[in-house]
């Protein structure tokens, strides 16, 4: 009971507060933008003909009404929460009247699939390779790996992605340029293999970047871990290296890294914006980018909201599950 009162409840309250603040901030910021979705739409609708001022005004009114942008910011804010509580994110402006949920729904699984896999793969790879390199710092391959990583790690992600794209679609055209799959979604090998094929390049770029980062972290953690008494003692007792690596080093450096993993899985919803733009991958990151450019608040809100809830929930879960992962945790 005390645990609930002293630990779990405050964490859940914090979860609400953080989400509330996060969402309020993201509600406000796009509204500071001079890019106004109504005028944007007006521009689009009238770009090939001239309309009279009266007709224009009338159209503007209609649009304001349709987009739910009439009233003061406070009214809009209250309205927004009112709708949100019912799970309604409103319509997209750019693609009126398609509901935002539908647009996000179209991209979200791609993003989750791509990022989820890439994050998991790079996490496992990074942890294992990094810990290995930290455990055997004198080996040639360990030094080699570290050098490679140090060179890859600082490459701005965009560049990495772009170079991969050019190499593997142009100079050696083996991967597709755009899209996420071939054919209608189904549980056939054909479709699934096409998903893998189309997702390979973007995933590769994410895995390279992610692994490099995780490698550096894991190596640093492992190289402090190997100086710990229990590792040294197990070494002395000639416990097999493999066992020491997994059950002594990695198991002990796991905690902060699991936290990181959970947090990066929480960020999935904001999508890999750059990845998706570079590789023309059909996820929410690309959607978000378009929405930002066209001032489509509702989509921006929808995706950031998911992202905020995702990260907040991930860190909540980590905090709650921590005691299961670490037998040592004590309550202050």
């Amino acid at each position: 009971m005390t645990l609930l009162r002293q630990y779990i409840l405050p964490r859940i309250v914090q979860w609400f507060v953080v989400i509330f603040v996060g969402i309020s901030v993201t509600f406000l910021i796009p509204r500071l933008s001079p890019v106004n979705p109504v005028d944007q739409a007006m521009g689009r609708l009238t770009s090939f003909q001239t309309m009279d001022p009266e007709a224009t005004l009338q159209m503007r009114e209609t649009l304001l009404d349709l987009y739910g942008l009439d009233g003061s910011i406070i009214d809009q804010y209250l309205n927004f929460w009112g709708r949100l509580i019912q799970g309604d994110l409103g319509p997209s402006f750019q693609s009126f009247p398609t509901p935002v949920t539908e647009i996000i729904g179209a991209g979200i699984w791609w993003t989750i699939g791509l990022l989820g896999t890439a994050i998991l793969i790079s996490w496992v790879l990074g942890v294992v390779l990094g810990s290995l390199a930290g455990y055997f710092p004198q080996m040639w391959w360990s030094k080699f790996l570290e050098r490679v990583v140090i060179t890859v790690y600082p490459v701005p992600y965009y560049i990495l992605a772009f170079v991969l794209l050019m190499l593997l679609t142009y100079y050696w055209p083996v991967f597709p340029l755009v899209g996420g799959s071939r054919g209608d979604p189904s549980f056939t090998w054909e479709f699934i293999s096409s998903v893998l094929y189309f997702g390979f390049l973007p995933a590769l770029s994410l895995v390279i970047g992610g692994t490099a980062f995780r490698f550096i972290m894991a190596k640093a953690l492992a190289s402090t871990e190997i100086t710990s008494d229990y590792v040294q003692y197990a070494e002395l007792a000639a416990v097999p290296k493999r066992k020491i690596l997994f059950f002594y080093i990695i198991r002990n450096t796991m905690l902060p890294q699991v936290t990181d993993l959970a947090l990066s899985l929480g960020t999935i919803f904001e999508g890999a914006l750059i990845t998706e733009v570079v590789f023309g991958y059909p996820g929410v990151g690309y959607t978000l980018y378009n929405a930002i450019n066209s001032g489509d608040y509702n989509i921006i809100m929808g995706i950031t909201l998911l992202s905020i809830v995702g990260i907040a929930t991930a860190s909540l879960l980590v905090d709650l599950i921590y005691p299961l992962l670490d037998p040592r945790v004590r309550l202050r």
């Binding site: 309309m51 340029l177 799959s181 023309g280």
Partner: protein, 613 residues
Amino acid sequence: QEPQGLPVDVPREEMFVVDQIFRYGVAGNYNIWQTAGTTPHRHAMMDETLWYVDQETGERIYGAAISDPMYNDDFTQMTVELRDNLEWSDGVPFTAADVVYTVETLKATPELGQSGWHAQFNQFVDSVEATDDYTVVFNLLESNPRFHNIFETRWNGMYIMPKHVVENVEGDLGTWTNPDPVVLGAYLPTQYDPNGFWELYERRDNWETSVAGTVIGNPGPQYVLTIFYGDSSRKAIAMSRGELDVYFDADIEAFETTLDTTPTARSWYADFPWAYPNEVSTRQLAFNYETQPLFQDIKVRWALALALNIVELQTEYIGGVAKVTPLPVPATPSLTAIYLDPMQEWFENLEIDLGDGTMYKPYDSTVPDQIAAWAEEQGYTVPGEPAEVFGPGWWKFDPETAEILLTNAGFSRDGGGNWLTPDGEPFTIDLQSPPDENDAFRMANAAADMWSDFGIDVNLSGLERAVWEQNYFVGQVDVYTPWMNFALASGDSWPEVRGDHPKYYVPNGEDVRPAGGNAFFQGQRLQDPQIGEYIDAMAAVAPDDPANFETATEFFKYWTENMYAITAISFKKFVTWDERYWTGFPTAENPDLMPLYWFQGGKFAIQSLTPVS
């Protein structure tokens, strides 16, 4: 070599792959009368209106109509006769009832706000009736000799609804998504990417009863895939991989790469200058008269024009692939015939006052010859008369005269040779241009370099499109690079310039869009009652009335004498296609149709394709 990277499983040789010019924000919504329905390609594949105007010739192609619009004397009634052999894709015959139903529905439903038709029908249409199955009569609220423009496609024209489908829709038409479209066009959408990257169309079985089928008489490809690849380099890559048959436009570097990597690729001309030069629009360096009041002095404007070296601009910066034009009217065959050729003499004799009483003839008709000389130097052959290929002529490159003009306007040079305004401040120009609009940006680069050479402190910003627009919408720029067009392909000017009327004037600092009018023009913050008079005069007469063209010509002369904006070049488009799988796309050798396939009238180009094998 079977291409690997296409997202659909359709035999490549039965499919024409088209560059989708942007990623659809909304996929699978075929209610394109909705406000968000702007969909290039879709309207060409699926939708029909009454008439098409060929960009090249300015001639009218009959769409669903089989007659010209017929007006009564005071232009308060318009009658149209329709084709009687058309069918909807579900086999139901097309009749006048469909047109009447469409007009009435759009008029009654504000949510169907596409292209302002709802607003315009309410403004003009009193009633519409079908006098028989194939005749429609529009009774107008006020005299309007150009009412038919709503149904006549340059980019798009009012899409006709299938009455038998729409009238059975339950619920709100504003949110209806038309999930199983019944179309009058030749193609039906069969698959789409929910994320809007691509859409697959299949030719309808009864294609012969569609407009394009009737007009062209050729089946065209079984499948058409529109697909969005992204920027030009990616389009070039896609084409080299055989995964793209035609793309919309590219910068010259990407185009050259395409030529290098894809031997079967070509554009309008088989060789230099390749690009399609006849899209009906032109590019300007437009002044904002209120952020920089010095522009209100005509001498300053002319000085800036004369400080530009059009030959260098057209060659070094644009690669020699666009036509030059001194008017905001492009040098297409039809418009050259209507305006540029007849005005040639006037250009030659035009004299401007240098401010001290000296008169000066600024026009240089040798510009196309100089460009041709450059082209030959590069080893290119010029396909035809220089004036046909490179446009009529332009203003002289004459820095000395420009110097006199500025000096007479009270400017002076400082010790470093830089211009000072009459107030003694350095003369600086904030020039903004969006890099994604290739020609405009390169033109801006040229202007920045040349004006800098002339001693003006030019600050060029390459801004992302939305920002750039935002800046001139509210007037945070001295010179910007819009694209303006003062005449339709038919030569009628009023529909294009009506938005330039001074009544739409919006002062600097306010957003121009809510005021109606033409935003590109309004960004200049120009308020000249004389322009209003010309526009009103044109409005009063029928578009094919000779008086209409005369007024327009007078207007253009007035505009030119005043150098209200510096027009440099016509639009060009590297509409590039690969003849690997398909031939029959319009070319300079076969110019009967225009290649702008993303326009509603692009359907004819697609319909004319034949497989290579």
